[in-house]
Point group: C2
Chain length 321, copies 2
């Protein structure tokens, strides 16, 4: 499981992140449901990042990245291209530091997402809905402003920030046989792996991925980074490919990536909302579905599992069932 | 605000209930949202009984009533007629004590509610969907079994059990200017009023009621108990009238009952699910809507308010927006 590779992040980076973002993020609750346990045939502990600020774990990494900037860099503001939770998180983190946030967003992004980012005081730059247009526009904004570009996952401070989540989980429930987190770009999963392996080596680390966007599972099987092309899933937070920094960590410290079809994700989302009475987004439900899947190691091997519920930002007008 | 009347419940009964149900109920979290506060113009603290066992505060009163029975009475089981949260709570409380639960339920109750009660090991007795048929069937079951009838709200142990909720809330957030709870039969509101007035007299106590089932508001205005006829509201937990035991407490210890139209309830439910990422049922949203209403005392008078989110049992296939 180990390798001589130098990884982007070590446990000490996660510990520094934790101190840096203290007071800027919520210590989210860990939920546990006897009814859910009966269904799963084991004890399941849910780390509720859907109850995090901006409704997703992304606030951890964004806060760490923004607070890590030196004053001269920070004064020029921060920049990203995203229409998702990272955009809101970066906007809020920038507001907390009192600096500008510039968010490049495809012009077909839902108006509600644009308004959410603007409500945090960020400036939105609409662009054509292609990766090329996003990158070109971001480069233009950077040229004009000098703002620091904060990648949504492939950046050391982001990975370290996301790793603080499992650190809290393991403090509250130390004797977990396994933890599982969803994987898109791999910021959350790689941070989880680094912190979890270092803090409690006996805890097995799994990723969960939509079957229709399974680049991490295929990469792990092939032993090389395979980018995602044409992802098809309702888990809109997990469309991206692993990155240069996240891939080596996932490769060396994650035991397996479990893939689940969207139908199982939808059923898991409904189950959590119905039983735990909390709102989760499809990307979070992917990890829940993986634990309920027959491919997950049996309760005899894994009696106690921690699941990172990554976020709760879902369109309540269009629930997927 | 006080009266020489002897009430069904005193603070000491709530304290006894608390010790009696310890370990049988969850100490539910108190949630707080900066975004919600901005919207409300004041600090709002949500006591999350939607995260209680069986998804509602009803577990508190049912557990207290079941555990208060002496062994001889308990051995004959417990009985109620209900299709709602009280039925599930009584079934679970009986299972915890290892005794039988008999639940009379209208034959047109949703199959999911019947299955939920049966999943806790209770026996369900279907009857015609009239109050008369429910009472006749319940009497028959009682004749056959000798089971103790546990009224859903008009019983001292039920009121005392529900009062434990605000006790926890005031421990966690002592300096509340007001608390508000929804009112149907008045078990929750009267328990809240008894405990809150005794523990912190400076905290004002309000009830919240659907405009289409406003018997408590009309009773308080008239100074006499006016039963609810033909209730029309989506808040299906608040259709009932105040009872013989709950009415005097509400009359003497609740400052005002605020009524809200269903549209405001639906908007509040959506707001809580969207912002706090927790699932609440319409009956809980009634109290949220009341705090957001212009009729609620201004922030200058009430800067910090506690809201009891009474439950989270909602049909996710038919959300009311």
């Amino acid at each position: 499981m180990t390798s001589s590779t130098e990884y982007a992040v070590r446990l000490s980076d996660v510990e520094i992140a934790r101190r840096r973002i203290d007071g800027l993020i919520h210590r989210t609750p860990v939920m546990h449901s006897r009814l859910f346990d009966e269904r799963a045939g084991r004890s399941v502990f849910f780390k509720c990042e859907n109850l995090q600020r901006v409704g997703a774990f992304k606030m951890r990494g964004a806060a760490n990245a923004v607070m890590a900037l030196d004053d001269a860099a920070a004064a020029k503001g921060v920049l990203t291209h995203s229409s998702g939770n990272h955009a809101q998180a970066l906007a809020l983190a920038a507001r907390e530091r009192g600096i500008a946030a510039h968010i490049v967003m495809p012009e077909n992004a839902p108006a509600v997402k644009r308004r959410a980012v603007e409500a945090y005081g960020a400036r939105v730059y609409p662009c054509a809905p292609t990766l090329c247009a996003r990158e070109t526009t971001a480069r233009d904004v950077q040229t004009q402003t000098g703002a620091a570009f904060i990648h949504p996952y492939d950046r050391a401070e982001i990975i370290a920030g996301q790793g603080t989540c499992v650190m809290e989980l393991l403090e509250e429930v130390p004797d977990l046989d396994a933890v599982i987190a969803p994987v898109g770009g791999g910021g959350l999963l790689s941070g989880t792996a680094i912190a979890s392996r270092a803090l409690r080596a006996a805890t097995r680390v799994f990723g969960a991925e939509p079957a229709g966007a399974d680049d991490a599972a295929r990469s792990l099987a092939a032993g090389r980074l395979i980018p995602q092309e044409d992802p098809r899933t309702i888990a809109d937070g997990l469309l991206t490919s692993l990155g240069i920094l996240t891939w080596p960590i996932v490769r060396d410290h994650v035991e397996a990536i479990l893939t689940v079809p969207d139908e199982a994700t939808i059923a898991a989302m409904r189950l959590v909302m119905g039983r735990l009475k909390i709102v989760i987004e499809p990307s979070a439900a992917v990890a829940v579905a993986a634990v309920l899947d027959d491919a997950f190691p049996p309760p005899g091997q894994i009696a106690r599992v921690g699941v990172v519920l990554s976020g709760g930002n879902v369109d309540l007008d269009h629930l997927p069932w």
